[in-house]
Amino acid sequence: MKDDAFIWAQLSDPATQERAFALLVKTYGKRLYAHIRGIVISHDDTNDVLQNTFIKVFRHIDSFKGDSKLYTWLYRIATNESLTFLEQKSRKSGVSIEQLQVSEFETSGLDNEMDGEAIAATLQKALLQLPAKQQLVFRMKYFDELTYEEIAEITGTTVGALKASYHHAVRKIEDFIRAL
């Protein structure tokens, strides 16, 4: 796997930009897909949001100063795109973001045909009981193994608030699974 500095150097050069984007998708596509899909749930919506994320990266490539890590920047764009997408969809359909996520999960058939282990499906169900922001913190901490400082940079929240949010999320998930 190529490191961020190499990808960044290729992205900055118009001659190698397209190759760099292919490399960017190869390096971060899987993680970003899981992150976005965990938020918007449907595969088709995830595909749209993920493509928009990479197009946004291309449009704003000049504004990336290199102060943060490349993947932190990618996560921030992906998270904002996902939340904006969900908010718009929720406004159009007139239901809350959380209700929307649950109904997407139920109608997609993933409830019964989940890839991987059954526990992953159960955890996903438990996650959908949480408020959208708490889900986000849990995903980034538990699945993506980001540090609190990195999550704070992505979400614009304090480390203290994130720790509290993650602690609440874990407690609620454990309670939900214990009650099954």
């Binding site: 930009q17 292919a22 998708v25 596509g29 899981a34 449009r59 282990e117 995903r139 699974i177 214990r178």
Partner: protein, 134 residues
């Protein structure tokens, strides 16, 4: 699951994972979208270059016309003789004379009818008698 605890469980993978086939397709889609964006950018640059030329020409024309417009808009104060001339130009002297005559006759009529003392003085030529009369 009565004693379920996340930190004692083996790490649970995310429920949703992208397949390698999907990632290959995504790579192609993203590269194609980037190419389209680049083409759009290039087309925009070409079209705006033309617009800038026209805009620059328009600015030069406007700047050059400012003194001309300014000169045509400058208003000069008319002199007193010009005002007098302008006022007299459309005066109908016949109407003025008629109006003045009317005014004078009004004054005369009014003095005759309203002031008996003055009438007496005007009619009586023996002024001395009037002065010495006890």
């Amino acid at each position: 699951m009565k004693d379920f605890k996340l930190d004692t469980q083996p790490k649970i993978k995310p429920a949703f994972e992208a397949s390698d086939t999907y990632l290959d397709q995504l790579q192609k889609q993203v590269v194609s979208s980037i190419q389209q964006e680049k083409n759009k950018k290039a087309a925009f640059r070409i079209s705006t270059r033309g617009i800038w030329r026209y805009a620059a020409a328009a600015v030069v024309v406007i700047a050059a016309s400012i003194p001309i417009v300014n000169n045509s808009l400058v208003t000069t104060e008319p002199t007193s003789s010009e005002i007098e001339h302008e006022l007299l130009r459309n005066v109908d002297f016949g109407s003025v004379a008629f109006a003045l005559d009317n005014e004078l006759s009004l004054v005369t009529t009014e003095s005759e009818s309203t002031d008996p003392v003055e009438n007496e003085l005007l009619e009586n030529t023996n002024v001395e008698f009037l002065i010495t009369e006890p």
